[in-house]
Symmetry: C2
Subunit: 216 residues, 2 copies
DNA sequence: CGTTAGTTTGACCTAATTCAAATACTGTGG
DNA sequence: CCACAGTATTTGAATTAGGTCAAACTAACG
């Protein structure tokens, strides 16, 4: 389905993992659209060009845990095994660079710089999961929400006015909380003058230092 | 301190990341001994030969989150940046193979198989953190404890009688729980006939199927 | 065989969840 | 441009899983 040619725009001008010869295809996904599903063969690897993506796992009874949010330049879908272990969906309309896994593998085998970039990318992902583990294992609801807000800020160039691309449910499922707790926590942070909720998807960081004091 | 020569036993006969020329030194650490600390320069990478290691982070107020337990063959201490982001301590008396990070880097640059093994190892680590994230974000205390027991079983060749190398506090700090909750949960699992606690460090898995039903 | 650290158990408490309802947004078609 | 429908978010009240504090028990080690 991702390779329905209606969606293909142009051959990517850049090497998937860096600069060099072509090695990917741009595909557009609409808000909510699935990019790959858990259990599917992991034939392709992906990089966000624009938009936002969530990768998540679902437990038998429907509990969802979002593994990661991916924004511009974010790399996802590379697996150790042959199957995807998460489902990936576009959070907003997105353009994604898609490359055959084999192509990337071959390229890495031939070129040291590609292999190194692949390792770097994977290690960065590992680090982010380590931070996520600390957040989920040992932080309070307030600390979790503050961490996410700061992370979103950092990853979008530290604007004072934050564009929140995901829903409260997405935030909750990333933070290991319920939607109600996320909402209440944001309301409370606003009450404390730390943030200002313009709309649900637009939040002003009024007191960044206070947020930073909360995250650890 | 890790390179106090009193501790050095022999030159490792095997390549750090696989088979090949020498690239490591065996070092013994006593139970509780620190291998490296958070914030220290990450000059070396490590592989468990025997024993067990915990890597963890501490928040300002002392909350501890164990990132990972490392058993025989387990690889740890490789960082994306220049500093260790966790502290590593021996859980039991352990023998650790230690190699200069630069050596491993150089080796990976020269040899595709080493680069590939390094990537594989890192991707496996990433996968384990993803599982950990799901556990911490969305599983109940009982499911968490069951998951850990099964993980320990799998990682030690699926014996029916499990040797638990870590303390209840270690379990709690890995599972995002308190020591009391871990203890109560184990007692309850025993009451349900799923496990039998011989001693705190020796647990019989009486009904593996029941445990497996709990983990997801 | 006593000391001490680690573990278990008990009673109570609280942060976060659940269930329920009100409110506010967003996009669509008239 | 406005009204409406449907969805997302916020708020409220009651509940609970897991935490906290405290004490009893157990086992490992010198």
């Amino acid at each position: 389905m991702p390779f329905d040619m209606d969606f293909v725009e142009i051959q990517a001008p850049a090497l998937f993992m860096g600069s060099g010869p072509d090695a990917g295809v741009k595909i557009r996904y609409a808000r909510g659209e699935e990019i790959f599903g858990e259990g599917e063969p992991a034939e392709y690897v992906y990089r966000v060009l624009s938009g936002a993506v969530r990768t998540y796992r679902i437990l038998r009874d429907g509990r969802r845990q979002i593994d990661e949010f991916h924004f511009a330049d974010g790399f996802f879908g590379l697996e150790a095994g042959t199957e995807h272990r998460t489902t990936a969906e576009a959070i907003a309309d997105s353009t994604i660079l898609v490359a055959r896994r084999i192509t990337v593998n071959d390229l890495a085998a031939q070129r040291g710089d590609v292999a190194r970039e692949l390792l770097k990318e994977t290690m960065d992902g590992l680090q982010r999961r380590q931070d996520h583990v600390v957040l989920l294992g040992r932080k309070s609801a307030c600390e979790r929400v503050a961490s996410l807000l700061l992370d979103l800020a950092v990853r979008s160039g530290n604007p004072r006015v934050l564009d929140v691309p995901m829903s409260r449910q997405d935030m909750a499922d990333y933070l290991g909380l319920t939607i109600e707790t996320v909402s209440r926590t944001l309301t409370q942070l606003q009450g404390d003058g730390v943030i200002e909720i313009m709309t649900a998807r637009r939040i002003v960081l009024r007191n960044r230092a206070a947020l930073e004091d909360m995250v650890e």
